[in-house]
Amino acid sequence: MEETPSMLAKMKRLIGPIVACAALASAATASYAAEQYFGIPSSRVGPYAAMGTGYYGGIIDYINYVNMKEGGVNGVKLTYEECETEYNAARTVECYQRLLQKGDQKMVVFDVLGTPGAYAVIGRMAADNVVLAQYGYGRTDAADGRVWPWVFGAHSNYWSQIAVQMNFMAQKEGGIEKMKGKKIVHLHIDSAFGREPLPAMRLIAKDWGVTLIEIAVPAPGLEQQSQWLQIRRENADWVTFWGAGSGMNSTAITTAARIGFPREKMIYVTFGGAEEDMIPAGEAAKGTFVTANAVPGKSFPLVQDIEKVVYGAGKGNLSNTARIGTVYWNRGLSAAVMWVEALRNAQKMSNKVGKPVTGAEFRDGYEALNMSPERLKELGIEGLVPPFKLSCANHEGAGKFKMMQWDGAKFQLVSTDWVAPPDPKFVRNLIEESAAKYAAENKITPRTCQ
């Protein structure tokens, strides 16, 4: 037992300097007068790393861009703290609590880029006065702002997305009446995220006379042989794929290729279809369809300017600059644009121009988001996201997507215009129904909107 004492001694020697360092560092981070603090719950390791590094890289790059280019928002410097969630619900709760308070400032917005994580914290938002920004993911019925004042699904959610995808299939098949008797497989990761589109999907399938087959893949989904054999046995016409993580997403393509399922009949979810998901599958990925809520590419003035200003100064967050303009990075960028626009609104609305705002003021600013075509052009992201406007009751916004197809090297847009579901009323009714059920179960009185 001689090892133990020596090890203890070693530990003591190790711990001393570490504690001293931590104390020094925390003392050094004093705060400035006009600052707005953002919490960034990033996921940079594990199976979802490609998504997390790209998305949060885009957010951080835009925050730095606003500071460098405009000296912050009306002179208010944007600061941020990061916390690693590992795309894990329990760690997300820890990160949420850790990021909540920074010095004398409170976090105003939380964007966890994961439906399981969003569900884990969604109940805390109203009490803590924090906006939960679910950019195209998360709890869908939160689009009803009367029941969920603090949660936003801007600018489009999974139910709209599945409606757009199914409409796309109908177009390819030659009309909705031709869909009768067809078989659609919803292949999804076995989590809240994978199941989220199902309520809308089941109803549409029933309405159209389509056979819907739901097949779950347990996380991390690196082995899908049995699921794809089942797809072949069922002789499916289309597959909608709700996967997470590059490993799972590329495995689906390679397995589909192995059993000979045409990639032109596979439609990927926004969060499963990025360059990082297609490239590992190689040639096999050619032809795969993906829905986009933020268009990839470097043709946007803002993207080019960030590359010049931020990356030119060596302050870029991506270690691989080739990833500028990819799906995940562009999406993160537009998420941050919404944050900063909301902050601008909040400062104006609460007469606090040039001053930091509180969570409640930020919430009002977010709800007042009006991304008109003119504003998008001013921001330099015309065509990157659809124009949309939020309101007291409508926390979704556009509900529009573009379809794109992987050509083996990059994504080609299939539709030049943003596509809305054929019947937006249908999705909206579903949202209101589900939100009303939630309100009744949890004894929430929905607020009234003019």
Binding site: L8, A25, S42, A89, A90, Y96, A216, A219
Partner: protein, 355 residues
């Protein structure tokens, strides 16, 4: 010198059978309970309470359950998270379907539900041992999570499958703030830890240890093998079930099967191994190590390096360091953190002299 038992004589059986025979231990435990119940809730920040202390206490409880089965009864099991899921969903359904049921009663009953499931999945232990049993219990993990997902009744037909946990109401008072939740969790954990300690050092625990050390010999000496093994499974699952219900209600505030994956089962297994197999203290130390080290490393990296180092590299480094720490512990102290504590006590007793 600091930890001297000289002069502390035990003159009766009652004194000899105390949990904490030394006055130093009594004082230490009393001080810990006073700090835990009276000082921590008032001085710890919400972050410490709701993000660190509550999950630590709950996972300690689950690790304790795993330790009873693995450390004391010697039955290698991999289904801890599955039994947690049973507890969480049982608690949700009990509160949902029985009007006005007190939370603590629901908590106890969900532990019993979990124990019943544990007995069923413990049946293979009568025939198989060691690694083979571990594989058989792995089935429980997958089956339970699958069943909870598959049958909508368990989730009250919730579309997304992630349910908001009901508030914790005891005697008409809603325990909502982190302080209140912490008190509830701490009370439950302290009570169950005391029960575990007493079981482990009493006849029940001796039965388990006899089975662990050699089950044939235990049977020959008249110990009913089936009852002892199933008892260990039941009690272990009870602890996991109560822990799972607390994990869902006091920590996550949501009830969903995907919170209780195989990943969590493995983490609980590691907590027991790192903490010290067959020790009560080890469950707490192991849970603390596995749960809190990655968080502290993350905080440390962000405060020390700030934004100077690429956050992706920092996150990866944290995992590397955490992995190295586990390997180091296993090499230098295979008996776990609890063993380090007992060695420390030994040294305190001899101080300033060394062996």
């Amino acid at each position: 010198m600091f930890y001297r038992e000289a002069g502390q004589f035990r003159t009766s059986y009652a004194q000899d059978q105390q949990i904490l025979p030394l006055w130093q231990d009594k004082l230490g435990m009393a001080a810990m309970l006073v700090v835990g119940f009276c000082i921590v809730p008032f001085f710890a920040s919400n972050y410490w309470l709701s993000a660190l202390l509550i999950p630590w206490l709950i996972l300690s409880l689950v690790a304790l359950g795993q330790n009873i089965l693995m450390g004391y009864a010697g039955q290698l099991s991999l289904g801890a998270a599955g039994f947690m899921a049973v507890g969480a969903f049982a608690c949700y359904n009990l509160i949902l379907r029985i009007e006005g049921i007190p939370f603590l009663v629901a908590l106890f009953l969900s532990g019993l539900c979990s124990a019943a499931v544990g007995i069923v999945f413990g049946l293979p232990s009568l025939r198989i041992r060691g690694l083979y049993l571990a594989v058989a219990t792995l089935a429980s993990q997958f089956f339970i999570v699958w069943a909870l997902d598959k049958f909508g009744w368990f989730k009250n037909y919730d579309v997304a499958g992630v349910i908001t946990a009901q508030p914790i109401v005891i005697f008409g008072h809603t325990f909502a703030s982190p302080q209140e939740k912490y008190i509830v969790v701490l009370a439950v954990v302290a009570l169950l830890a005391l029960a575990a300690k007493n079981m482990a050092r009493g006849s029940i625990g001796r039965g388990w240890m006899a089975v662990r050390d050699m089950d044939v010999a235990a049977e020959v000496t008249g110990l009913p093998l089936m009852r002892t093994k199933l008892q260990a499974f039941a009690i272990s699952s009870f602890y996991c079930g109560v822990g799972g219900a607390l994990f869902a209600f006091a920590y996550l505030q949501t009830v969903e099967p995907s919170a209780f994956t195989i990943d969590l089962s493995f983490r609980i297994l590691f907590m027991v191994i790192i903490g010290g197999i067959g020790t009560i203290l080890g469950s707490f130390l192991g849970a603390g190590f596995i749960l809190l080290t990655p968080i502290f490393l993350n905080i440390l990296f962000h405060t020390v390096f700030g934004k100077a180092v690429d956050a992706t590299i920092a996150s990866a480094l944290e995992q590397i360091i955490f992995g190295m720490m586990i390997i180091m512990f296993l090499i230098f102290e295979p008996n776990g953190l609890a063993r380090i504590w007992s060695v420390t006590k030994e040294r305190l007793r001899l101080w300033p002299f060394s062996r």
